[in-house]
């Protein structure tokens, strides 16, 4: 089947997307080359947050640029990390005494570019620290780091670290908070309908008409368990159980839960899943203290969702509640 997407020449996808994105959200962001930065930069005495990653996951990652979250998102190409020089340039541009936190998602290309850029920035005397998100638990709790991919949890981490930076915390403090949330969070993806690569029409993954995969990679790389399609309640239970099995959660604990639609799965379904999660947690005496539902990190028109769960403490909750103003998420 031919691709049914509204695009122009595939080689211009990323640039055209970014131009339209910057126009649509010009109150919040602007474009510098292929790097999305805040329309109104943060003051120099506050820690800057920089991230990098491929396009095709809109609104993420660039949708998290804005007041109370990221300062810069260095964009590569569709599903492809940017080269290190662009990341170094972004770190140069946001350079400040307060320091910069570089947030890297655990995907091969992102890590290679990110680490390379980090090393160069350090050599160039920039005050920068880095953090690697790796909350995918599809490979199990004790899987080696390489198997724990960075998924949608980064969106929440940006927001929490961003709020800490906005509050004037030092780089070390921002890093400590980001690391705490990073260690607290877990994500699992269920896929039901594979996406289409927008540049060449290739189908990303394969699933039979009655199958879903719990633990599917972000781009359908697989690695999870293929099973028969289940109801919303049953799917929520399977995923929540797997996630809670990797955490120490006790009655009375407070959990954040995000249901992130991958593209074609409707907000209707996401809400029905959140309801199921709430009921399951309630039965265990665990408080669903905050939640996010919607499309934050998509994979084109993939059917499925990511469930991200994190243990919260009062400081993390306060940072989560702090105002922010980004294309993907605004808190008044």
């Amino acid at each position: 089947m031919p691709m049914k997407k509204f695009i122009n020449a595939p080689e211009n996808l990323t640039v055209e997307l970014l131009e339209g994105f910057a126009e649509a959200y010009k109150k919040q962001v602007k474009l510098e080359g292929k790097t999305v930065v805040r329309a109104t930069p943060k003051s120099d005495d506050k820690v800057a947050l920089v991230t990098l990653g491929g396009a095709g996951h809109e609104p993420a990652l660039s949708g998290c640029v804005g007041q109370g979250s990221l300062d810069a998102s260095v964009v590569g190409d569709i599903f492809a990390a940017p080269g290190a020089p662009a990341v170094v340039a972004a770190l140069e541009a946001t350079k400040r005494d307060a320091g910069t936190l570089l947030i890297i998602l655990n995907h091969a290309g992102d890590v290679l570019s990110g680490e390379k850029a980090f090393n160069k920035a350090v050599k160039a005397g920039i005050n920068v620290q880095k953090i690697l998100t790796h909350e995918d638990i599809s490979a199990g709790k004790d899987a080696p780091l390489e198997d724990r991919r960075g998924l949608v949890g980064c969106v929440v981490l940006y927001k929490i670290a961003g709020a800490a930076a906005e509050a004037g915390k030092s780089l070390d403090e921002v890093v400590a908070i980001a690391e705490r949330f990073n260690e607290n969070m877990r994500t699992l993806i269920v896929g039901a309908v594979p996406a289409t690569h927008p540049a060449n029409g290739a189908s990303l993954g394969e699933l039979a008409d009655d199958e879903m995969e719990v633990g599917m990679g972000q781009h359908g790389e697989g690695g999870g368990g293929v099973m028969k399609l289940a109801s919303a309640d049953e799917t929520a239970r399977i995923m929540l159980d797997k996630i809670l099995n990797t955490m120490e959660v006790n009655s009375g604990d407070k959990l954040f839960v995000m249901i992130n639609g991958c593209g074609a799965t409707t907000l209707m379904e996401q809400c029905i899943v959140l309801r199921a999660v709430k009921n399951l947690l309630e039965a265990k005496g665990i408080e669903l203290v905050r939640s996010m539902v919607g499309e934050f990190l998509t994979v084109q028109e993939m059917g499925g969702f990511q469930m991200c769960v994190a243990k919260m403490d009062d400081e993390l909750i306060a940072l989560f509640d702090a105002p922010c103003d980004t294309p993907a998420y605004t808190v008044k």
Binding site: T14, K34, G54, V75, G76, D77, F79, A80, A81, P82, G83, A84, P85, A86, H107, A108, G109, L112, S113, E115, K116, A139, E146, D147, R149, H197, A199, N200, A202, L204, G217, H219, E221, G222, G223
Partner: protein, 216 residues
């Protein structure tokens, strides 16, 4: 027979490598479809464009300047793993070439070894991990042996290409430990690694370029 490659010779050998890799773009994408996300051909195509752009834009006759430009250009592509890996390889080469005006087999072995070392700083892969390193390490070894044996650049590169191809072929037996293919676990066995394959094509292209220069 001249000994080694001068500025133009090196440029033409690199261009031949780029042409050879480009001829395999579709095959590389197919290989990456099996174990990754199907874009390695596109990524290597971009890396080769960047390599030639680096050569084109060089306004001096200094080999070092040309190689530095190539490294910067390759590194700058937005192409997932391939950009940083190929970029590091070229960086190591550029940094170790010094002010040489001609590259003989010994220097060729030296700069490729430096390139390999630079790549390994970020790669962390070992032989048997099913990556481009499975082709690159045997190729560099072959260059070193050829240098010790006093062979010509063309002969050395031919042997390096043979070794790289053998290394790429062997990746079929391995389970992937890096890149997207890693998540497939045992399911990755039986498939040839795209990165090792493109690396072998790169050496084969260089060898052919050097041979046709020697014969002309």
């Amino acid at each position: 027979m001249t000994t080694g490659l001068d500025y133009d010779g090196l440029a033409s050998v690199f261009r031949a490598a780029a042409a050879n890799v480009r001829s395999g773009v579709d095959r590389l994408c197919e290989l990456d479809c099996a174990t990754g996300d199907g874009d390695h051909g596109v990524a290597m195509g971009r890396a080769m464009d960047a390599l030639e752009k680096g050569i084109d834009q060089c306004s001096t006759t200094s080999i070092q300047t040309m190689l530095e430009g190539v490294a910067e250009s390759v590194e700058s592509i937005d192409a997932g793993s391939t950009g940083p890996l190929m970029g590091s390889l070229m960086e190591g080469i550029a940094e170790s070439v010094g002010d040489a005006t001609r590259i003989d087999t010994r220097l060729l072995a030296t700069i490729f070894e430096a390139g390999l070392d630079e790549l390994l700083v970020i790669s962390k892969a070992k032989v048997g991990d099913k990556t481009m390193v499975d082709a690159l390490i045997p190729a560099v070894e072959a260059l070193k042996v050829a240098a010790a044996g006093g062979e010509s650049v063309a002969d050395a590169l031919a042997k390096a290409a043979d070794a790289a191809e053998a290394g790429a072929e062997k990746t079929k037996q391995f389970q992937a430990r890096f890149g997207r293919a890693r998540n497939l676990g045992e399911r990755s066995i039986g498939h040839q690694d795209p990165g090792a394959t493109s690396m072998a094509m790169f050496f084969r292209g260089m060898a052919e370029g050097a041979a046709s220069r020697e014969n002309s």
